[in-house]
């Protein structure tokens, strides 16, 4: 009952579903007005590749590696710095740890 309660709630799934259902029905009717026919299993359904012959699905598969490329490219400096920091030498990590503890101690000391 608390969900349906008309006091404030961050998200009411019931009303959300209700509204979605209405909108979906409307979108469905809109969609149904469209032309549904197309020429199945003809040359028409082949993907557009600048007019070239379409290679096999395997060849045009793009590996997931490429998906976040733009993101990596932007954050390159950040990642590079991070990778540099991770030297794999345990002494470095311990120094990081000690420095951080020292800094937090100072902050705690000042604030406290």
């Amino acid at each position: 009952m608390s969900i349906l309660g008309l006091t404030y709630c961050p998200w009411s799934p019931i009303f959300w579903l209700l509204a979605s259902a209405i909108v979906m029905i409307m979108a469905y009717f809109f969609r149904r007005r469209g032309q549904k026919k197309y020429k199945k299993d003809t040359a028409q359904t082949r993907i557009f590749l600048c007019g070239e012959e379409v290679p096999e699905a395997k060849q045009r598969h793009i590996r997931a590696h490429n998906v976040y490329w733009g993101f990596f490219e932007t954050m390159k400096e950040y990642y590079d710095a991070n990778i540099k920091a991770h030297t794999g030498i345990i002494n470095d990590y311990i120094i990081w740890f000690l420095v951080l503890i020292a800094i937090s101690a100072i902050i705690l000391f000042i604030v406290g």
């Binding site: 197309y38 040359a43 557009f48 600048c50």
Partner: protein, 144 residues
């Protein structure tokens, strides 16, 4: 389905099948402020899937023929094909060359021909108007 609905929102896709570029720049010129065909709802789109009009230029070089056919097939119906420029009509100065398989209407069905080498932008607009008339007549006769 109504052909009339298509008439005033023609999206065009431009295919060069080996033309000399003259017609292509005139097609681009048609979009620019002086002629501005966007006022008729025409705009150039990036994919034949979105297109209603194929603007074909050039005499169809051997390598381009299968590609032209493919793109024509990939364009959803109903569609209009306008051939711009004399070499797309009849080969123009390139007639009888060994590497041509055109003109365009031997590869795909053509609706409107625009002679000119290259045609003035207004002639291309007139061709669009001819295409409207054709669509309206087809609508009247109940052709889909």
């Amino acid at each position: 389905m109504s052909l009339n609905t298509i008439k005033r929102a023609l999206w065009a896709y431009h295919i060069n099948t080996g033309s000399c570029n003259g017609c292509d720049i005139e097609i681009l010129a048609v979009l620019t402020p002086r002629y501005d065909v966007e006022r008729f709802g025409i705009r150039l789109v990036g994919s034949p899937r979105h297109a209603d009009v194929l603007l074909v230029t050039g005499p169809v070089a051997r390598q381009m023929a299968p590609r032209l056919k493919r793109v024509y097939e990939q364009t959803p119906d109903p569609k209009v094909v306008i051939v711009v420029g004399s070499c797309g009509l009849e080969g123009g100065v390139f007639y009888e060359s060994y590497n041509l398989v055109g003109p365009v209407d031997q590869i795909i069905p053509v609706d409107v021909y625009v002679p000119g080498c290259p045609p003035r932008p207004e002639a291309i607009i007139e061709a669009v108007a001819k295409a409207w008339v054709k669509l309206e007549q087809a609508e009247k006769q109940g052709v889909t």
